[in-house]
Symmetry: C2
Subunit: 332 residues, 2 copies
């Protein structure tokens, strides 16, 4: 099992700081979650049913002709590699590490590559996995480039798998609407944009035959009833979505400004987080944690990812901590 951000309880124990006292910037989750209403008792009581309206709400929101609800995009990341015979798989790196892990676990030959290398040498792979925008680097690609890459792979039975977990603030860059093409598979998640990471709900947008095979592998009732209920409502709340897209884009820029003002101008990022490469990332991570601020540390390359502070007080706390920590490590 890989290590992940979001392990607040462990950090609380290690640094002797109560969980409630942390500013948790270790995830890419929108700090301003969609407001969950009361849950009807029947959602807890009954087995969930597939024809409850969730899929229709998701098709409308994502603009995809066909999709399958899954228990978080993680469930799809783990299952998809088992639907192919042994393949040569190129995975974007650095990127969300579960992709390469899952393809290796299923026995495929995996190479970690930069985005440029994957696009230039597509002929070396049967499957290419992109994260778009990338986590943690924030890399972006044009729709035309993605569809061209897909066409090359699909022509020989290959797949282009695109993880769009952080796409919701920039839906115009999504290729969900193209996902009925054989071999184009798009993963979406409600965890980040809607701030509902605890719901464990994601969607796979793809051609019908692939979705059937995936559904057979995952089995029945993989989502909880309350999660299905809540996510169906969130996907239909257009006013909140419009307001939140604008807000996230401005918050992503604000976070980049704060980091820049303290000599940590981002190496990349998106509306949900900013990412900074630096050789002393581990020391910086530790110094911030001693001050109750949890960031996400990466080893390869040495770097830190900062999620969005939720409010002015959180921005002020981050600024104050950076003012203490950054000069100490790189005196002028």
């Amino acid at each position: 099992m890989l290590e992940h951000g979001g392990r607040l309880l462990r950090a609380a124990q290690r640094y002797g700081i109560a969980p409630a006292d942390w500013l948790d910037l270790s995830t890419g989750i929108n700090p301003e979650a969609w407001p969950v209403p009361a849950i009807p008792a029947r959602a807890w009581h009954r087995l969930p049913e597939d024809d409850d309206g969730l899929a229709a709400a998701a098709r409308e929101y994502y603009g995809a002709a066909e999709l399958l609800a899954v228990a978080g995009s993680q469930a799809a990341i783990q299952a998809l590699p088992w639907l192919r015979a042994r393949s040569r798989v190129g995975v974007l790196a650095p990127g969300y590490a579960e992709h390469a892990h899952a393809w290796r676990q299923a026995g495929h030959a995996v190479e970690l590559c930069s985005g440029a290398a994957l696009f230039e040498q597509a002929e070396r792979y049967d499957v290419i996995v992109l994260i778009h925008p990338n986590n943690p680097g924030g890399d972006r690609y044009s729709r035309a480039a993605l569809l061209d890459l897909h066409a090359q792979l699909a022509a020989r039975g290959g797949w282009l798998l695109i993880d769009e977990a952080f796409m919701d603030a920039t839906p115009e860059a999504s290729v969900c609407a193209d996902s009925e093409r054989e071999g184009l598979i798009v993963l979406r998640s409600v965890g980040k944009f809607f701030g509902l990471a605890g719901a464990r709900v994601g969607f796979v947008c793809a051609a019908p035959a692939l979705l059937r095979a995936l559904r057979e592998r995952l089995g029945p009732w993989t989502l909880s009833g309350p999660s299905r209920h809540v996510v169906q409502l969130a996907l239909a709340d257009r006013d909140w979505q419009t307001r939140m897209r604008a807000r996230l884009r401005s918050q992503g820029a604000r976070l980049a400004d704060v980091l820049g003002a303290h000599g940590l101008a981002p190496s990349g990022g998106c509306a949900f987080f900013q990412w900074r490469r630096c050789e002393d990332a581990a020391e910086l991570h530790d110094a911030l944690a001693q001050r109750g601020i949890l960031t996400r540390l990466f080893d390869a390359p040495h770097s830190l990812r900062f999620g969005l502070p939720g409010d002015d007080a959180a921005y002020a706390r981050l600024s104050a901590a950076l003012a203490e920590v950054v000069p100490a490590r790189s005196p002028a």
Copy 2:
């Protein structure tokens, strides 16, 4: 994908009766669910963490030394067959059909057998799968017989897999406390007893090495945060559990009495349901459905399973419908 009970929306469409107007006896779920309180916002917002206290509450409730929380026992039913090389598997029949399906999907040689045949010819199998008490037959086995069967299988690296989804009303018959033995695997579910089928939470009680392998296969965050929160509270609510065990046992007996009074004395059953073999099960199922009463129909053998009516009005409605339907098919 197999067909299951609980597909109320489909029946509503087929019979032209609104979902709210049905008496749904098609499941074995306790109609009196554990009362779910309001959910804290953080349970929706954050990624679930493994060390939130759920596992400890479950170890206490089930009396098992080691266990793993899974997204419904269905998740374990599907994953466990992939943790063994090709094996000869004896599965109790008639019984919950997902077991045999999952072992076949994973490439094992599956035989469907009566309980008596499995106990008498254990040497023919590497793995034996029991449902205890059985669904739909209600068959029961002594702890001594189960541990003896386990010992025979374990001596040659085999498994005894026992699905105890309907055990909570009779916890004295559980073998959870013995599940640290290598090769003894017990599945539990909160869906039936606590009436929380929508939560998608189950537990696998087994030796640590097997639980590690299962966890690796299932991956991180398979349960939703709200479900983890609710189930932890339900598992600790001893007063409700004590009251409900007594109530379920009396309700199971009451349902058997009602069926018997209408010439449908149960062929088997337990506290959660009663089961009746009859050649015209399909006609009876249809006649009841025309009256808005959904039961679970089995083809092999021809039989009907009746879940518990929730209150006096529901019992009266079932009695009235049986009075109309049963004489018509078997006049005295």
